[in-house]
Amino acid sequence: MSILHLSFYSAFTLSSLGLAFHRTHLISALLCLESMMLSMYVALAMWPIQTHTSSSTILPILMLAFSACEAGTGLALLVASTRTHGSDHLHNFNLLQC
């Protein structure tokens, strides 16, 4: 496994751990989601370079478009939750308890 693969794996794992263990602010979870998408973009962009297939060069662009849509949606949800809950502290998300 080359250094490139290792760096990609570690970046993704760190970001997913950051997403799983976010503590106080919702925006840090969105940041970790974005960094996961970024590491996926780098990995997808490395693919046609390493395998010399130029037909899959559109894949990172497509992925980037979708991740940008998701980021926008996440930010819109952040704004909406700040409007209704008052802040983005995760302790306030307890209206739906069992």
């Binding site: 693969h5 794996y9 993704f12 997913s16 997403l19 799983a20 919702l26 979870a29 989601l33 996961m36 998408m37 996926m40 990995a43 997808l44 693919w47 395998t51 894949l59 497509l62 992925m63 979708f66 849509c69 998701e70 949606t73 996440g74 949800l77 952040l78 909406a80 939750s81 409007r83 209704t84 809950h85 998300f93 209206l95 739906l96 308890q97 069992c98």
Partner: protein
């Protein structure tokens, strides 16, 4: 938005490249989020946020597992997932999307925070692409992990639904346990899983639509609903019993066939 949902589902079920499958899943997530948060009620927004975070993380994990597999085997085909780490991550990611234990914590709250029709869409239509992905990759999934999760789901879905008063949370737990049943049969007989899913969809749709038309939200409202529409309530009773899987009704059929398959494969313990 329903058009986007149908398009996303169609893209995922008709794909054989992982990026297409991921695209369809993302379109589904993005399309259903405005439907959840349409009412501007704090509960709805909170449900939408939780749903978004979980589904986005699961989608990214799907993409990551397919990328790992692509690096190790050089191809992006869905049915040829061979790298073991990639299979485990994929199993975990799809079960996050579906709501199997231990990734089920978002499901009752999200279902509670959305309206009845959206809840119906969430439980039935949104489950369809991940079920299709499971069906397509059924021979390469991580069997042990899936079996453990499925048994836990079937058990926990029943237990956690016992002390609930909100109808939508009860439906959420029923959903979780049905998905557990579907997941356990996946490795041995994928077509049976699809049969179970179709029957489950029809029954759940019936129950949700009946609840929507008599506008019950809590169990106490359900108790007095017979005064309004006696015939619909009687039908609802039959549908609920069928959903629970009692013998003379349709819901028993998948459970019987699943237990039969499990005993043929010497998994008597799991069938309990």
């Amino acid at each position: 938005f329903t058009i986007s949902l149908m398009m996303g589902t169609t893209i995922t079920i008709s794909s054989n490249h992982w990026i297409m499958a991921w695209t369809g899943l993302e379109i589904n997530t993005l399309a259903i989020l405005p439907m959840i948060s349409k009412s501007h009620h704090p509960r709805a927004i909170e449900a939408a946020t939780k749903y978004f975070l979980v589904q986005a993380a699961a989608s990214t994990l799907v993409l990551f597992s397919s990328m790992t597999n692509a690096w190790h085997t050089g191809q992006w085909d869905i049915t040829q997932l061979t790298h073991p780490v990639s299979c485990s991550i994929l199993t975990a990611a799809i079960s996050m999307k579906l709501g199997l234990v231990p990734f089920h914590f978002w499901f009752p709250e999200v279902l509670q925070g959305s309206s009845m029709i959206t809840g119906l869409l969430l439980s039935t239509a949104m489950k369809f692409p991940p079920i299709t992905l499971l069906f397509m990759t059924s021979q390469s999934l991580n069997t042990t992990l899936l079996s453990i999760m499925a048994i836990l789901s079937a058990a926990l879905g029943g237990w956690m639904g016992l002390n609930q008063t909100q109808i939508r949370k009860i439906m959420a737990f029923s959903s979780i346990s049905h998905l557990g049943w579907m997941a356990i049969i996946l490795v041995y007989n994928p077509k049976l899983m699809l049969l179970n899913f179709y029957l489950y969809t029809v029954m759940t749709a019936t129950v949700f639509l009946a609840f929507n038309s008599i506008k019950v939200l809590k169990l106490s409202t359900l108790m007095t609903a017979w005064a309004k529409t006696p015939s619909l309530t009687a039908m609802l009773l039959l549908a609920l019993l069928s959903l629970a899987g009692l013998p003379p009704l349709t819901g028993f059929l998948p459970k019987w066939l699943i237990i039969q398959e499990l005993t043929k494969q010497d998994m008597i313990v799991a069938a309990m």
